[in-house]
């Protein structure tokens, strides 16, 4: 996967953001929370690369610091949703009786658009980062369950699973050593996509004013505040917006790159041709 330039760039961008945001307090020339009423809504300049906001704060600095929330939320949601989804998916896929119950619950959860579900949860729980993470994990977990379950269903009838049973291997060992290692690729790929979607979701929620509390810098919050100034200070909206786009794109590219590299069974012209050639050569 690291052979393709495109993938390397995507990973590079992500790492760059992560490092930049973690070390922000060390290298930012101007503190992003420095309020200066005399410098309100200035356009991009040498002093302020992205301009200033309605409080005179440096937008570039804010964008970098806001990345923290997005990345943390995205990553944590991805991890939690993946863990929960994998566990439920494994059980649902492997045990027919549990399947029925689990899938009806999951179907119910999937019936709600994920954003609305998150919205409802935040409304009940309140708008701090932890609650956002909980809400979004809850909305994204069912997708992972579905994916894991269908992967398990594909593996279950294979002969090496039968062989494990006939040689006395217990169910937990089968699930952990025989099933899980062979379905890792869709899990990882989907996890990356959830990461991206969670970032978007958090930004959307904050933009709507029902996400993270306004005092914490997030891209969504920035967009929320920038709304009314959009005609006079478009840079206030543009830069956080671009940041979101780049991050999500990078994550999507990583996800696709992982999929192409890890799972030869999925779609994609290159993969299909590879298979056709392999088939002919092997059967020749």
């Amino acid at each position: 996967m690291f052979k393709k330039k495109r993938n390397l760039i995507a990973v590079g961008i992500l790492l760059l953001f992560a490092i930049a945001t973690i070390s922000a307090s060390w290298w930012l020339p101007v503190s992003p929370s420095l309020i200066d009423a005399s410098r309100r809504l200035l356009g991009p300049s040498v002093d302020h690369w992205f301009g200033t906001d309605h409080f005179g704060r440096d937008i570039f600095g804010q964008t970098i610091v806001a990345a923290r929330v997005s990345l943390v939320v995205g990553f944590t949601v991805a991890v939690i949703a993946t863990l929960l989804g994998t566990i439920t998916g494994l059980i649902a896929g492997y045990y027919k009786k549990a399947d029925f119950i689990i899938m009806r619950v999951i179907d119910g959860m999937l019936a709600f658009p994920s954003l609305l579900l998150a919205l409802a949860l935040v409304a009940v729980l309140g708008g701090n980062i932890t609650n956002i993470i909980v809400a979004l994990s809850f909305s994204f977990w069912p997708v992972m369950t579905r994916i894991v379950r269908s992967a398990v269903l594909q593996i279950k009838p294979l002969q090496y699973i039968e062989a494990a049973k006939t040689t006395g291997v217990s169910d937990p060992v089968i699930l952990s050593h025989y099933v899980l290692p062979n379905i890792l690729s869709p899990i990882i790929v989907q996890g990356t996509f959830i990461f991206a979607k969670a970032i978007l979701a958090e930004a959307a929620l904050s933009f709507l004013g029902i996400g993270v509390e306004p005092s914490i810098a997030t891209w969504g919050n920035m967009l929320q505040e920038a709304q009314i100034y959009i005609s006079i200070a478009p840079w206030f909206s543009i830069f956080p917006g671009i940041a979101i786009i780049i991050t999500v794109l990078a994550l999507n590219m990583i996800g696709e790159g992982l999929r192409d590299a890890l799972d030869p069974h999925t779609t994609g012209k290159a993969a299909k041709e590879k298979q056709a050639v392999k088939k002919i050569v092997n059967a020749a």
């Binding site: 090496y160 039968e162 006939t166 040689t167 291997v169 025989y178 290692p181 062979n182």
Partner: protein
């Protein structure tokens, strides 16, 4: 007379077909529909049949992967209780299986050595694990250095050897082999067949060998059973089966196998069956073969024949009301076409 190692009594395995929103059972696929079979220690029983005959389903219930709908399987005189987890775990040490597909019968993420060691680990027989695995690899003709390789790094024939080593690891008494060489190249088939025969001699194994290739069965089996739509049509010793078969289906089956011998092929008269295989969810009434049998009579449509001895030979059983030899069958057929 010693008791048989394995006995199958009136085994039936039916799979429910569910349809509709409420998933009601509308019908059953009668994969195995009344099979009686006896296997003695040290023998190789060949089970042949075409697709849908139930041989794979039968194999899977012998090793405990499928639960019978009715009937019983007795191992060393005792009934195999498919529901009883502890009992099954115990019996699995004695009954093992070699699978058909060298590509999907091995966990692609496990090293070859670990695949062979897995049964030993499952039964907590971990003393000198690596040593025993290497010994097994050696015995099946694999190099011990290949312990750490993954399945895709081996060829088809080698992968089958890994599967065989895995089956041997627990020192089983009975091995069920489900089409173990069908997916292999002709030149590799011979290697694996030779290996299986050597192992049987060395270790005193009993084999149930399932195949659709009659030439392979001819080579390796002591006794042969032919299945059709879930039932045994004929059961006989090897020589008897191939030279003196009496069931019209067996005769047709044997006659349909092409010989790698152009002159013999040209001189041969084939019995070609008409019609298609009926669906296992709607097996014909009476004798299941009657819809394709060139000699079906009224009785065949009404009653189900049971396995009866031919010419008072208890070792040759046929499930037919009007058994006849291949020559008789050919003669009768040419009569009707020329008449």
């Amino acid at each position: 007379m010693t008791e048989p190692l394995l006995e199958i009594r009136d085994l039936k395995i039916h799979f429910p077909i569910k349809s509709g929103v409420l998933q009601k059972t509308t019908n059953h696929v009668k994969a195995v529909n009344g099979v009686n079979l006896s296997v003695n220690k040290g023998e190789t029983i060949g089970i042949v049949g075409e697709s849908g005959c139930g041989k794979s389903t039968l194999a899977r219930s012998i090793v405990g992967l499928l639960k019978p709908t009715s009937g019983e399987i007795l191992f060393e005189g005792e009934r195999i209780q498919h529901d009883h987890q502890k009992g099954m775990h115990k019996i699995r040490r004695d009954i093992q299986m070699v699978f058909q597909d060298p590509f999907t019968s091995l966990n692609p993420r496990m090293k070859a050595g670990d695949i062979i060691a897995a049964p030993l680990k499952a039964y907590k027989m971990t003393e000198n694990l690596q040593g025993r695995v290497k010994e097994l690899m050696d015995r099946v003709g694999l190099k011990a250095e290949d312990y750490d390789k993954l399945p895709h790094q081996f060829s088809g024939g080698q992968r089958q050897r890994i599967g065989i080593a895995r089956a041997l690891s627990l020192n089983p008494k009975l091995i069920v082999l489900d089409e173990p060489v069908s997916a292999l190249d002709v030149s590799i088939q011979a290697q694996v067949i030779n290996l299986l025969e050597d192992l049987q001699k060395e270790l005193g194994l009993t084999y149930i060998f399932i195949a659709h290739d009659l030439s392979v069965i001819k080579h390796i089996a002591d006794k042969v059973a032919v299945m059709y739509l879930g039932k045994v049509m004929e059961f006989a010793g090897n020589e008897t089966f191939y030279k003196d078969s009496r069931h019209p289906y067996t005769n047709a089956l044997l006659s349909a196998v092409p010989l790698p011998d152009p002159e013999k092929e040209r001189r041969r008269k084939q019995i070609v069956l008409s019609g298609e295989l009926p669906s296992p969810s709607h097996p014909p009434a009476g004798c299941v073969f009657h819809t394709r049998c060139p000699f079906a009579q009224e009785a065949c449509k009404l009653e189900i024949p049971s396995l009866k001895a031919v010419d008072d030979n208890a070792d040759h059983l046929v499930s037919c009301f009007f058994p006849m030899s291949a020559e008789e069958q050919l003669a009768k057929l040419s009569q009707t076409t020329s008449g």
